[in-house]
């Protein structure tokens, strides 16, 4: 029943509330969410989510615990199928796609509760993400033909290069599960980048990091943004990080967007202050 509400064609124009940086204004947005919503366990975890991300924007998604931020990422990557609304990725409706297909279409992500391939080496975690770029077949692999060698060497080089962005090239042969926490978070970003995304979703990349690690991470995110010229959406509780690197911010509370704007707008928005302070008051 709910399914029929989902529009399948691109009839909806760019929502007027869209907020993209000037340099992206002339280009098609990389992502448009229109009336996106999902019901989980009887509650509307996300509702009426209208959100646009420009080609080369760094956007932030913030909100109190349980606001539905991770759920939005799960909707975008089709871990959950939305019950209402449309997601347009590069102008293409992702209706009916699964997680794998959405990744091929250009979305890569990290996870709030780190999901690495623990028993693989750091380099193999990254190379696993390059699978779709590699062409050699099973016979090549079994016989170790020149095609196999060529592609494997190229993949290894590229993996090391990507790892070097986060200064991790020297631990390429280490088991991923044995890395310290911060390094695991960075490795997840590298793995996501290895799939050549046009939109990178980072779910609390700085969680559990100390201030100096967070500062480094901030630099790295900027570096990634500059090198690959991609759009990045990040969920983060560390306000200094969000306010520093995001160009646009979207605030979520109880599954609804309560504010959208530049970091300055958001910091002085009474609804946002209320949402955060109200929650703090409850907690105390």
């Amino acid at each position: 029943m709910e399914k029929e509400k989902r529009s399948r064609t691109r009839l909806v124009p760019l929502p007027s509330r869209a907020l993209v940086p000037d340099r992206d204004a002339a280009r098609d947005p990389v992502l448009e969410c229109i009336n996106l919503g999902i019901t989980l366990g009887g509650i509307k975890a996300v509702e009426d989510f209208n959100f646009t991300v420009g080609r080369t924007e760094i956007a932030g998604l913030i909100g109190p615990n349980g606001a539905g931020k991770t759920t939005v990422f799960n909707l975008l990557t089709k871990v959950y199928q939305p019950t209402t609304g449309t997601i347009l990725l590069n102008g293409r409706d992702t209706h009916g796609m699964n997680t794998m297909q959405v990744n091929k279409a250009g979305i890569a992500r990290t996870f709030q509760n780190i999901r690495l391939f623990k028993n693989l080496s750091v380099a193999d975690n990254v190379k696993a993400a390059m699978n779709n770029d590699m062409r050699y077949n099973m016979l090549n692999a079994i016989l170790r033909t020149p095609a196999y060698r060529r592609e494997e060497i190229a993949a290894h080089r590229r993996a090391l290069k990507l790892l070097s962005i986060f200064d991790m090239q020297d631990i390429a042969d280490v088991r991923a599960g044995s890395l310290p926490y911060g390094a695991q978070r960075r490795l997840e970003i590298v793995r996501a980048l290895a799939t050549n995304p046009s939109l990178l979703l980072l779910d609390e990349p700085a969680a559990g990091m100390n201030p100096s690690e967070t500062a480094e991470l901030m630099d790295s995110i900027r570096k990634v943004h500059e090198m690959f010229q991609i759009a990045i959406v990040l969920i983060e509780h560390d306000m200094s990080l969000v306010m520093n690197i995001c160009e646009g911010i979207c605030v979520l509370n109880f599954g609804h967007i309560i504010a959208k704007g530049t970091p300055d707008d958001i910091q002085s928005n009474p609804a946002v202050i209320e949402a955060y302070l109200g929650r703090n008051r409850e907690a105390k």
Partner: protein, 356 residues
Amino acid sequence: MRRLINLKRVEARRIYLTYFVVIAAYVICQTMSSTKMMSSSMRGMLVPICAYMVMAVSLNLVVGISGELSLGHAGFMSVGAFSGVATAILLQNLLPFAPVRLAIAMISGAVFAALAGFLIGIPVLRLKGDYLAIVTLAFGEIIKSILNNFYLGVDSAGLHFSMLSDTTRLLPGGQLIIRGPMGISRIMKIATFPAGFILVMIALAIVFNLVNSRFGRGFMAIRDDRIAAESIGLDVTKFKLTAFVMSAALAGAAGCLFSLNYSTIVANKFDFNTSILILVFVVLGGQGNMLGSIIAAAALTILPEKLREFSDYRMLLYAVILIMTMLITNNDNIKAFFQNILPGSKAKFQKEESDA
């Protein structure tokens, strides 16, 4: 910072060690058997041991590398056995040179088993969850019933087959190859120990080379975290199917080798107990550990024979030894206890512990 293990080096060392152990064991057994230092009962077990090693390695690809539970591996063995032996019999006059006939028979067994693996893998591996265990369990039983009721004959007009009863009505001079519950009899025993050794080496090479390619990374990535694997664009169903079909193919070749070592085979030989025995090789040897699988397969095939002198208590002892070994290899407390007794391994264990 904690010292971190270099996985690549550990991995390479393990692969070379595995090849080395297999080659050394082959050379020793071959010398002993040709200089008559080996008992005839032991000599008769060489080919079955090779076949079980291949079974263990191939099941380890599914259970250890791909992280799926399969309880019907003997089913693929029987598909390979019947199709391979039938091929060997059909080629008997065309190809008098036995080694070539053996090779073609094993390839045929592998192809048919792979086909069976593909057919049951396609619907099952699409599902999330451990449905493979149930379906392979059923498959093992179903294939046994089918083969128990299957008749295949050849005459001048070609191949004929029938189910339930023999209605092939062969022309004079025709030959009934598969006779339902009687299986196949009067098989020419063309399986040899060198052929078995080569099959083990091929199985190892296939599995090791696959594991160290984009395919192996895919299998292990999906095993470690399915959602993350999907999020980086891996086709979970395709990878799981690939590992499963490859494993079935190797089991088929092993089944063919196994059967061509006996003059008669029946479908009941490849029952649920055999599937479980192979799973025990894998669990005992360690999931993902090919050398362990190979050693476990050899040890657990020889052990019941060696325990024959205890006649009545044979299977009891076998069970006790099995349980003890499982405990020792899987229980941390007991492991630590043995490490305390054996000082050499203690240091090594502690190092690994701190690395992990």
